[in-house]
């Protein structure tokens, strides 16, 4: 069974500083990987996804993530955080064949300090 671990429940970053949110997954083959963002009281917005190819994936709002098979990781990064980035971030994994659904991590709450 697939699973996702986001080891940090919450992270505080100063505005303008760089950000890295950690995500580790468990899956028997190469998975499909996603990062979603959820602002308070809002739905889920897809930031980026990895299916295959280049392991460095660019997303919306200046985010990027790198797939590292050897570490079973898919960490999310942003070089300079803005106050509007404060939100809950979810990493998710899906199988790469047949019927599959998203398995989410428990989320990381990003707080941005002035």
């Amino acid at each position: 069974a697939q699973s996702v671990t986001q080891p940090d429940i919450h992270i505080t970053v100063s505005e303008g500083a760089s950000l890295e949110l950690r995500c580790n997954y468990s899956y028997g083959a190469t998975p499909y990987l996603f990062w979603y963002v959820q602002s308070p009281g809002q739905g889920l917005q897809l930031l980026l996804k990895y299916f295959s190819g280049d392991t460095l994936v660019q997303g919306i709002k200046g985010f990027e993530a790198e797939f590292k098979r050897s570490q079973s990781s898919f960490n999310l990064r942003k070089p300079s955080v803005h106050w509007s980035d404060a939100a809950e971030y979810f990493c998710a994994v899906a199988g790469n064949s047949g019927y599959s659904t998203l398995t989410f991590g428990k989320g990381t709450m990003l707080l941005v300090s002035p």
Binding site: Y32, F34, Q38, Q42, G43, L44, L46, K49, F51, E88, F90, A94, G95, N96, S97, G98, Y99, S100, T101, L102, T103, F104, K106, G107
Partner: protein
């Protein structure tokens, strides 16, 4: 036009009642889902439908009954509501049953009192 729309956005009801949440997508997707987000923000799949047929049921109590009248709609009916059913329910659709092109609705916050 909203791609995946859920109604209602908020639902407050008493224990023991029966309620429904509706979901419609106008993306032409074949696959639709219900996810539940609990009070700790943990998101978990409940059901998956492909072309109106149930393909995944993740050991959800049988008080929860999804219904798909056509592939653009997936409604969720809940009988005999319990306090523990309080959560945010998200509908989603995908262009393929592998779930690789998800679009989520904005969620329905259900509060059982």
């Amino acid at each position: 036009d909203t791609a995946v729309s859920q109604t209602p956005k908020y639902l407050v009801t008493q224990m023991g009642n029966d309620k429904s949440i509706k979901c419609e997508q106008n993306l032409g997707h074949d696959t639709m889902y219900w996810y539940k987000q609990d009070s700790k923000k943990f998101l978990k799949i409940m059901f998956s439908y492909n072309n109106k047929e149930l393909i995944i049921n993740e050991t959800v109590p049988n008080r929860f009954s999804p219904k798909s009248p056509d592939k653009a709609h997936l409604n969720l009916h809940i009988n005999s509501l319990e306090l523990g059913d309080s959560a945010v329910y998200f509908c989603a659709s995908s262009q393929d049953p592998g779930g690789h092109g998800y679009t989520f609705g904005s969620g329905t916050r259900l509060t059982v009192v």
